[in-house]
């Protein structure tokens, strides 16, 4: 069971994540979009979308910091443990709250505005439900355990297990001892990755950074060959040369 949860499932999810993106990129460029609905509703979006996205940047950055940077490295750089803890809890809570506020407003917007409700797909609803669950678990861990509770040093367990997956040395025993909320959040995280390529989240990979240096006006030559010249209706009417159609 432990192997299934902490070894098989992560690898399965990562496989789906990679293969799903390859499939979507090759077969559904047309569906690869933010699927903007700002045209239909502007007032709520103007507040909630930047809140959500900036919060998400903070949260993603926090996860990268916590999971990818070994505690030994920050220790060697001379960052005391309590300073790290303070930074991670305060920044995590702040950006997490931005994310929560943005998400709540975005979901409210989806269901309050009839115009938006009509264009909301099933996949959007699944995505919103999943995001909500993940955020609730994550905030419970950050605020409930680390801020108000005694604190849990995930850097010695979860982060090591997480990095181990990429070295192909998963240490399941590190996860079995973790608190339930962390376990659920970690499992949910991998399932979330598996869901990713099939949702509008693919737009994340299209963050248009190349815009910063490309020339303003883009010229492009026609790729497909041109169709055969057709006689104009006037030529057909006048029975001139080239008026024989098909």
């Amino acid at each position: 069971m432990n192997t299934l949860l902490w070894v098989v499932l992560p690898y399965a999810c990562l496989t789906v994540f990679v293969a799903g993106h390859v499939w979507r990129w090759r077969y559904d460029q047309f569906g690869w979009t933010t699927h903007t609905s700002q045209l239909l509703e502007n007032r709520l979006l103007r507040l909630s979308s930047p809140l959500f996205h900036l919060g998400a940047f903070g949260v993603i950055g926090g996860h990268a910091m916590g999971l990818l940077i070994p505690a030994s490295l920050t220790g060697r750089l001379g960052v005391p443990e309590h300073v790290y803890h303070l930074v991670s809890v305060s920044a995590g809570t702040a950006t997490g709250l931005m994310l929560v506020a943005g998400l709540v407003l975005l979901i409210a917007r989806r269901f309050a505005a009839g115009r938006i409700r009509r264009v909301t797909t099933t996949m959007d609803k699944v995505l919103y439900a999943f995001l909500t669950a993940m955020v609730v678990l994550g905030m419970t861990a950050t605020i409930g355990k680390n801020m108000l509770g005694g604190g849990y040093d995930y850097r010695e367990t979860i982060a090591v297990w997480f990095r181990g997956i990429f070295w192909f040395q998963p240490h399941t025993e590190l996860m079995t001892s973790a608190p339930l909320v962390y376990q659920l959040h970690a499992l949910g995280g991998f399932l979330f990755l598996a869901l990713w390529p099939f949702t509008r989240l693919v737009h994340v990979w299209s963050a248009p950074l190349a815009y910063l240096w490309r020339p303003y006006v883009v010229y492009r030559a026609r790729r497909s060959p041109a169709p055969a010249p057709q006689p104009t209706p006037a030529a057909v009417r006048d029975g001139g040369p080239g008026s024989l159609v098909l």
Binding site: R26, Y27, D28, Q29, F30, G31, W32, T33, T34, H35, T36, S37, Q38, L39, L40, E41, N42, L45, R46, L47, S49, P50, F52, H53, L54, G114, R115, R117, R118, V119, H203, S206, P208, L209, A210, Y211, L212, R214, Y216, V217, V218, Y219, R220, A221, R222, S224, P225, A226, P227, A228, P229, Q230, T232, P233, A234, A235
Partner: protein, 502 residues
């Protein structure tokens, strides 16, 4: 010098009767689909009027087009690259659907499914195409048709005029302005597209959206000062006037030109120097933009054209181009809002009719050139208004064009009725008798093949395409209502018409 060809259009506004045939045939061809109900690649608005979408010409509000920064460099009015990306999560300049209008459909089924023997005739009611709920129709793409809505008062062009205007009934003048994408030489939409999905075609200058590469950042919509790029709210991608490129490639005119009842559209090639575009768009005084753009065009008889590697049939088409003649030889066509600095390529012959109406109203003879000249000089309001639209407020340029049109009328009248040549009229506008008569022919009686001079794209490609079509059958039109799938299974934009959902 890099010479490129551009397919361009001129519309003679005197002949537009506002019948909307162009809009309707365009809509039936391109935008009668779910997600594009509110989209009119071609629309006809009544001027003065606030237009479609509402107040689109008010760039203090929408920040469309280009401007010069303090150092005189050309920058997008909505901000540079960094600023644009910082606003990607919520575009502050994007019009909402209510700035266009809420599209409606009708429950027509009730007309055939109502039970017999009713005392009252069944009535179909409007339903929102966005929510399906019953709605009141309170605005449309042409709500102010023929000044019906009386919102001409709020026209942003009137607000900019030096003369303070109140459109009293007796001073009212109006004309129709058909608008499509301008296919600009310096397109703001292309420049604002974060994904690089929008592009200008090298061969014919047509500006298109790559549906596979558009990611729905919607910056093109706000950057276009003419608001001629639209969001398809069903696909989440941008769409715009295609200049009917499949027809142009086959040597046929666009569908709006083809079906124009007034025969007021002219379609042809204009050659331009790509290297001169940036400098032309960057001239300091807005009133110099018109001349700068004309100077960026290349005379099709220039020997340099032969060395540019253009196909011979394209050079021949450029030499026969009615658009080139109206813009550069007769100099009676003017660009719409040159002050946006996008170098638009759909130009207009300004309407003389508001002036003629006023000439008659003032008790003068509207067939007499002198009387018309006097009226043009007296009539500050319509002429200043036309200048706001077509010359960045440069009144003498508009006056000059109107005088040419008036002189042409009087000259031809004398020529036809009395058989005399009014040399003093020719002298007053600086044109030869041959030029005026050729101009008259082009404006009044030019046939289909003279109005639309479109070279077919390189014929040598044709066989390859036919082979491709035979083996694939990649056709986005017709078929099922399901998503369009290309022959290799990839999803794509389908152009199936919208069916009634109720």
């Amino acid at each position: 010098m890099r010479i490129r060809a551009q397919v361009a259009m001129v519309m003679n506004l005197d002949k537009c009767i506002g019948c909307h045939t162009c809009s309707v045939t365009c809509k039936q061809t391109w935008t009668n689909r779910e997600g594009t109900e509110y989209v009119w690649f071609n629309n006809v608005e009544t001027k003065p009027g606030i237009g479609y979408p509402k107040h689109y010409e008010d760039q203090d509000r929408w920040h469309g087009g280009w401007k010069l920064d303090r150092k005189g460099r050309l920058v997008l009015r909505s901000g540079g690259r960094g600023k644009r990306l910082s606003r990607i999560f919520a575009n502050p300049d994007l019009p909402s659907i209510d700035d266009y209008y809420e599209p409606a459909t009708f429950d027509k089924d009730i007309l055939v499914s109502a039970p017999g023997g009713l005392k009252d005739t069944p009535v179909k009611r409007p339903h929102s195409a966005l929510t399906g709920e019953p709605m009141a129709v309170t605005w449309g793409a042409n709500w102010e048709d023929s000044l019906g809505g009386q919102s001409g008062q709020d026209d942003p062009n009137l607000a900019r005029m030096a003369t303070k205007v109140k459109l009293e009934f007796e001073k009212t003048f109006m004309f129709h302005l058909p608008r499509i994408c301008e296919h600009c030489l310096n397109p703001a939409c292309v420049s604002a597209c974060p994904s690089g999905a929008m592009y200008k075609r090298e061969e014919d200058g047509i500006v298109l959206v790559d549906q596979d590469r558009c990611r729905g950042w919607r910056m093109c919509v706000s950057a276009c000062p003419y608001k001629k790029v639209y969001v398809n709210h069903a696909t989440g991608k941008a769409e715009k006037c295609t200049f009917c490129f499949p027809r142009i490639e086959a040597g046929q005119p666009t569908i709006c030109s083809e079906t124009c009842v007034g025969r007021l559209r002219y379609l042809g090639i204009v050659l331009y120097d790509e290297d001169a575009v940036l400098a032309a768009a960057s001239v300091e005084d807005e009133k110099d933009l018109l001349e700068a753009q004309r100077a960026a065009f290349v005379d099709p008889y220039d020997p340099a054209v032969g060395e540019a590697g253009l196909p011979a049939e394209w050079i021949a088409a450029a030499q026969a181009s009615p658009v080139w003649k109206l813009i550069s030889e007769y100099r009676i066509a003017l660009p719409l809002h040159p002050e946006y600095r996008t170098m638009p390529m759909v130009w207009y012959v300004p309407p003389l009719s508001p002036v003629l109406d006023a000439t008659g109203a003032a008790g003068r003879d509207d067939t007499d050139a002198d009387d018309i000249f006097h009226t043009i000089r007296d009539l500050r309001i319509p002429v200043e208004y036309l200048a706001e639209l077509f010359t960045a407020g440069d009144v003498p340029v508009v006056t000059g064009v109107l005088m040419k049109l008036a002189a042409m009328r009087s000259y031809m009248r004398a020529r036809t009725l009395d058989g005399t040549v009014a040399q003093e009229l020719l002298d007053s506008i600086g044109m030869t008798a041959g030029q005026v008569e050729a101009m008259y022919r082009l404006l009044a009686i030019a046939k289909y093949d003279e109005r639309y001079v479109v070279p077919a794209a390189h014929a040598k490609d044709a066989a390859a395409l036919e082979a491709q079509a035979a083996t694939h059958g990649d056709c986005p039109v017709g078929g099922s209502d399901e998503d369009f799938r290309r022959a290799d299974g990839r999803r794509g934009l389908h152009l199936n018409p919208l069916r009634s959902r109720s």
